[in-house]
Symmetry: C2
Subunit: 343 residues, 2 copies
DNA sequence: TTGAAAGCGCTACCAC
DNA sequence: GTGGTAGCGCTTTCAA
């Protein structure tokens, strides 16, 4: 009977195959594969050659069973289609990949039952660590929907009350960045269209913004602050108009999102004013739409990739159980384009 | 010595624990867990109770080793941050999740060496099937960077020359949809700002568009066709202006992307014309920016979630090795908003 | 330096 | 119906 009848799924070569073919036992091959030093040079070479010749690759499942670790991370998110999730996931994947880890992707849709189901599956698969990532909000999240049996986890773009490592953008610093830039660019009557009050980030940004303005000798005129009910362009348009009605000599608007900024720019245009000559605009987020505005929008970039990367690293680090949990505030970055005079 | 010194990572309960605690052997427990019928009712009940009491969950790694299957899919993409990847991934995750499968995420950055590395890891982890997903283009891709050892795979939003199941949007139908809608809406001088020539999709859309127009008794005037060098708003703006210069009585523009349409709308506005009263605009893709345009943009929605879902299902189906590979064209959908008079 | 043996947690075959 | 046994592919003592 021919051994390889179906070429489709040939039996994969195992440790034992290598052992047999190089005239040693499985133990020795295992040692070679794992870089142990207690193997004779000639035996090692023979094994190495055979591995190459046979194209042997260790079965991770078997190794995982034996080692009680799977070299696998998981991202569980409440919104796989959130506008920021992509970039963060790429960061996580980068970090995991560099360490030889795989990453599972789970979407809970923010539903607790679903999260529970997903978590149980992940625990059954023995993932080594979890990353809870929020897609559409920054805010406190409840405990994981399931006791995690000692599996370590970190929060990314969200936080809980547990003793858990947490990765967030530095919103305070982001606000300060906008303030510095606008003052540098010669603005003196500066308004702030902030995002919705419910979002923790908005308080932080306001704080950073006003504090920095004060430090720079341009204390913020609170009457020029607006809390937008949403992050959308429509509200940016409306609020910018409202501001310009009240203060005709307004010369700069800092917006809590690129969408708000887009609306604000439309409002400025509609009055026949020029950006940045009459009014300078700064956005927040650095979504792709920012650079395609006319003029291209100066904005504060959320460090999404770095945040994801850091979360991945922290998840990995948690496996060593050596470091204490911490909260990380990743610096935002000022991206100067044409809607301000700076740069 | 206390058994549970570290509460952090208690030993997990195994099949054997359940067996012991219910006075049967592992075999019997296994049968119960797997819903076998050859177990006595009272034994079954006892086992079930114990499972519940102890909180037993089968170890997937062990099961995977034994069964030679991991209940795991993998997505390998060349662009994790592509504007369409999110939605497709969610579709895949939905399909996988419903079947109790997990999904690995891999980013090759379009780099062949990286893809090779990733694929090898996935094979080592014994994933059951792969989904190759393109993030930023529709086009022929080379063979997988590694012989897949019989692991089945499908293409999503890209295709190769192999005998491989492939999931693509129905671009021909999408073009036709736009034609029908515009004619219904009373347009008679219709232009088409198509995407770049290199993209396979653009030829398909043009074909569907013109064929349908002809069928409707409004043959397409080829002089009103433009091939944009990019998908961006800038080019949409420029080309729309060019078209309006040449044909003053233009009353509709079909654009190959929502970004192109955004540019076209700006051009129309700049001339003091009204949308949709003077000129109707239809986009393509249905990205989130579409519904926030002023007026909100009528567009042809790419069925990204459905495509991902279908790809997931096909990957799952390929495990049964019963169906022949096929290429699927998932219908686009007309989303009527305010930039056209239809609806 | 090498290998025999045990075992990670599970399923399946085949007696009883 | 039930359980003993073997084994999935690997790592790790421990003895030789």
């Amino acid at each position: 009977m021919p051994e390889q009848l179906s070429a489709a799924a040939p039996r994969r070569v195992t440790l034992k195959d290598v052992a047999r073919a190089s005239g040693v036992t499985a133990s020795t091959v295992s040692k070679v594969v794992n870089g142990r030093r207690d193997v004779g040079p000639e035996a090692r070479q023979r094994v190495l050659d055979t591995i190459d010749r046979l194209g042997f690759h260790p079965n991770s499942v078997a190794r995982g069973l034996r080692m009680q670790r799977s070299d696998t991370l998981a991202i569980v998110t409440d919104d796989l289609e959130g506008i920021f999730t992509n970039a963060m996931m790429r960061g996580v994947e980068d970090a995991a990949s560099s360490a030889g880890f795989g990453v599972f992707l789970c979407n809970s849709y923010g539903d607790r039952d679903r999260e529970q189901l997903q978590l149980q599956r992940l625990l059954d698969k023995r993932v080594d660590a979890l990353i809870f990532m929020s897609g559409n909000r920054v805010g406190r999240r409840p405990e994981p929907a399931l006791p995690l049996q000692g599996t370590p986890y970190v929060y990314l773009y969200e936080y809980g009350d547990a003793q858990v490592s947490t990765v967030l953008p530095d919103d305070v610093g982001g606000g300060a960045l906008a303030a510095t830039h606008l003052v540098d660019a010669g603005a003196s009557r500066i308004a702030f269209i902030n995002g919705p009050r419910e979002w923790e980030a908005t308080a932080d940004r306001l704080h950073g913004f006003t504090r920095e303005l004060t430090a720079l000798g341009h204390p913020f005129d609170r009457s020029l602050l607006r809390w937008s009910p949403s992050w959308n362009a429509e509200d940016g348009y409306f609020l910018a108009n409202e501001l310009m009605d009240i203060v005709p000599d307004l010369d700069a608007i800092f917006c809590g999102s690129d969408d708000l900024a887009t609306g604000a720019m439309a409002a400025v245009h509609d009055r026949g004013l020029s950006i940045p000559d009459d009014v300078q605009i700064v956005g927040f987020d650095d979504r792709s739409l920012a650079e395609h505005q006319r003029p291209p929008l100066t904005t504060i970039a959320l460090p999404l990739h770095q945040m994801g990367h850091l979360a991945g690293e922290q998840a990995l680090a948690s496996l060593e159980r050596t470091t204490a949990p911490a909260v990380f505030r990743v610096p935002c970055e000022l991206v100067v384009r044409k809607s301000t005079r700076g740069g």
